[in-house]
């Protein structure tokens, strides 16, 4: 099996380009020029050099021995994207796009950010490559992630507060798209996940495929065979598709995406777009979305700001429809539990996003045989979440349960 879009960027019924005419010429230019630049050996060599010598790739594959022992089932491996520069997989995509922007002659990049991880990664790449960088961030998120706002500023980027709508990630994307429409001649829009109109979902995926390519080689080297299942968290879906994609043709490998269950599906406060969403048109693509009967998008909720998105990459919607990948849910509480468990048993503090994937892996590992292999994408490190988790745990200790 293969997973490639048609020439309009459609994965089955999902994807495409649903943007105002004002962006069509820019997207056509992006399709045409990115195809040429990405195939240029000079670009390729420069990006590979940055990934190796700046971002720290390849990232290791770590056997989570004590967690595997405790589960008493599958052997759990962690793909250590937390060890990439800036602490998450986001840098893979950002280096690719920022370098592309420079090859395209654009002097300014813009980005949206939720928790601030993609914003920090974009600011980092812009500093490295000498580009001007402005990052749109919901005012609400800026308040919650003040430290990342300061990081971006230290890196020389400007963080712009978005006061419209729910003042979170989806509104930051709206505002970035408005900026791009206005400044399309000079500006490159560096999207942070497999979102937006064609060619972004495919291009971002291709920059993140390095995760799966490395993981495949590494697991073959240590175990001599492919894993039984891959597990990754899904916000927009970039770390998940980056891990999954090189394994799509390996039909024995289960692909499991973990969505944020928030306070539980029944509460309505979650971000489980594939599990509960409906087909819709949002942020430039047709995909599964959280939308009411009237077609209004409603805000997602998750303990992890990076999963707080009411849409999902179109390729995931398609992989779900054809049944090649499975999508499950982990709640805020389950993620919080896994966050602490992994810290204590492996000495790794995971990002709250990644903790969703860990939670599900710890749930299914005991049900699998001892020679089964589970490979989990540890998409980022948890330093950014430590303060938030400290507050939540402190407030819970006060509440009698």
């Amino acid at each position: 099996m293969k997973s490639e879009p048609d020439d309009r960027g459609m994965f089955g019924d999902f994807g495409g380009r649903f943007v105002p005419e004002m962006l069509i010429a820019a997207l056509d230019e992006l399709v045409e020029r990115s195809a040429r630049i990405l195939a240029d050996p000079a670009y390729r060599a420069e990006l590979d050099g940055l990934l190796a010598n700046y971002a720290g790739r390849p990232t290791p594959l770590t056997f989570a021995e004590r967690s595997s022992e405790r589960c008493g089932g599958a052997r759990i491996y962690l793909k250590r994207e937390d060890l990439a520069h800036t602490g998450a997989h986001k840098i893979n995509n950002v280096l690719g796009q920022a370098l592309l922007a420079r090859y395209m002659g654009k002097k300014r990049i813009i980005a949206e950010t939720g928790a601030g991880q993609h914003g920090v990664a974009s600011a980092t790449a812009a500093a490295l490559l000498g580009l001007e960088c402005e990052v749109y961030m919901g005012a609400e998120d800026m308040r919650r992630q003040a430290l990342n706002v300061f990081r971006m500023e230290l890196l020389g980027a400007r963080c712009i507060a978005v006061e419209s709508g729910s003042r979170t990630l989806k509104d930051a994307i709206n505002e970035a798209m408005r900026d791009w429409v206005t400044n399309v001649e000079t500006t490159y829009y560096c999207i942070g996940s497999v979102m937006g109109p064609h060619p972004y979902p495919t291009m971002v995926r291709d920059f993140q495929r390095v995760i799966g390519i490395e993981a495949r080689e590494q697991i073959l080297e240590v175990e001599g065979r492919l894993p039984d299942a891959l597990v990754a968290c899904v916000g927009g879906g970039s770390n998940a598709i980056g891990l999954f994609h090189p394994f799509i043709g390996d039909e024995s490998v289960r692909l499991i995406g973990v969505e944020p269950g928030g306070e539980g599906i029944a509460s309505g406060r979650h971000g489980a777009t594939i599990t509960t969403g409906v087909p819709g048109i949002f942020h430039g693509k047709r995909t599964l979305v959280l939308s009411d009967d009237d077609g209004q998008i409603f805000p997602a909720h998750s303990i992890s700001a990076g999963l707080d998105y009411p849409g999902v990459g179109p390729e995931h919607a398609w992989l779900h429809e054809v049944g090649r990948a499975e999508y499950v849910v982990a709640t805020d509480d389950e993620a919080l539990e896994a966050f602490q468990l992994l810290s204590r048993s492996e000495g790794i503090i995971p990002a709250l996003e990644s903790a969703h994937a860990i939670a599900h892996a710890l749930k299914i590992a005991p049900t699998m045989s001892r020679d089964a292999i589970l490979l989990v994408n540890l998409s980022g490190r948890g330093d950014k979440d430590v303060d938030e988790v400290r507050k939540i745990l402190a407030s819970r200790r006060k509440e009698p349960s």
């Binding site: 495409g16 380009r17 649903f18 105002p20 005419e21 004002m22 419209s164 206005t182 077609g295 998008i297």
Partner: protein, 277 residues
């Protein structure tokens, strides 16, 4: 089923015979509420509007500037939805002879179902639709059902649109071509985008379809300037601004609504004046 000549084509033919450019005011349905929208539509129709564009509010209006974003949010907060807007069109249809165009993002149409939307819109007498996030390529599944029922899918063209694509848009659009005056989002501007006259003349030369200009058009002076070459002028944010500021001081007060209606009526009259022949 398709009409030989739609209300929009008929309107442009009448105006064309006089050498007059169309005035197309826009407002968001449901801002501040649907009853006021009804009164505003009637007032605009009486004040010289040639076609009337009603916005369907959306949670994530990516092509809109702050004015229409706020107006969209107010309308949603009032519980306005696509079905109640269609009922509004039904109520005013027999009382205004001008073509009525719905402008809204794709997801509410998708949620209702493309066929169901086209059927309902046709039944209440909608004449055209503008769905800014649909292009002829990806938008066909939504636009075709409208066209099949005689509702004109009005396409946008942009300053960055290359000539070859412009030819396609001129061929594919129905009713008129909506030329966006500037690269950017909606919102009143101090001056009209540069170079737009040349683009409009090119689009006019590529086919028979009328070419109208919108985005940023805010004053009678702009209307006069654009009306000299374009077939019509769309004014949105400046009208929404008028409603917003009339409502601001004494919201809740019914006299504020009456004042909004009155001021919009006068503004539309002022916009139309330099276009009359």
């Amino acid at each position: 089923m398709a009409r030989a000549e739609g209300r929009i084509a008929e309107r442009f033919r009448m105006l064309g015979a006089k050498g007059e450019a169309a005035l197309i005011p826009f407002l968001t349905a449901g801002d501040p509420d649907l009853d006021t929208t009804e009164a505003l539509v009637l007032a605009m129709a009486g004040a010289g509007a040639d076609l009337i564009e009603l916005g369907i509010p959306f949670s994530d209006p990516t092509a809109e500037g702050p004015t229409i974003q706020r107006s969209s949010a107010r309308a949603l907060a009032r519980g306005t939805h696509l079905r109640s807007i269609l009922r509004l069109v039904e109520r005013v249809r027999s009382r205004v002879e001008q073509p009525i165009i719905l402008m809204g993002y794709a997801n509410p149409v998708h949620a209702m179902g493309a066929e169901a939307f086209a059927k309902a819109a046709r039944e209440v007498g909608v004449d055209g639709v503008i769905i800014p996030d649909l292009t002829p390529e990806d938008g066909a599944p939504y636009l075709d059902p409208c066209r099949a029922r005689g509702i004109d899918p009005i396409l946008l063209a942009a300053p960055t649109t290359p000539r070859e694509r412009l030819e396609m848009l001129v061929r594919e659009t129905r009713g008129f071509l909506y030329y966006v005056s500037l690269q950017g989002v909606t919102g009143a501007r101090a001056s009209v985008g540069r170079g737009i006259e040349e683009r409009v003349r090119l689009a006019q030369s590529l086919g028979d379809v009328p070419v109208c200009v919108g985005f940023g058009v805010a004053t009678p002076e702009h209307a006069r300037e654009i009306g000299a070459y374009a077939d019509g002028v769309v004014v949105g944010s400046a009208i929404v601004d008028t409603i917003e500021s009339a409502m601001r001081d004494v919201s809740k007060d019914s006299s504020a609504r009456a004042r909004a209606v009155d001021e919009v009526g006068r503004f539309v009259e002022a916009l139309k004046k330099p276009l009359r022949r």
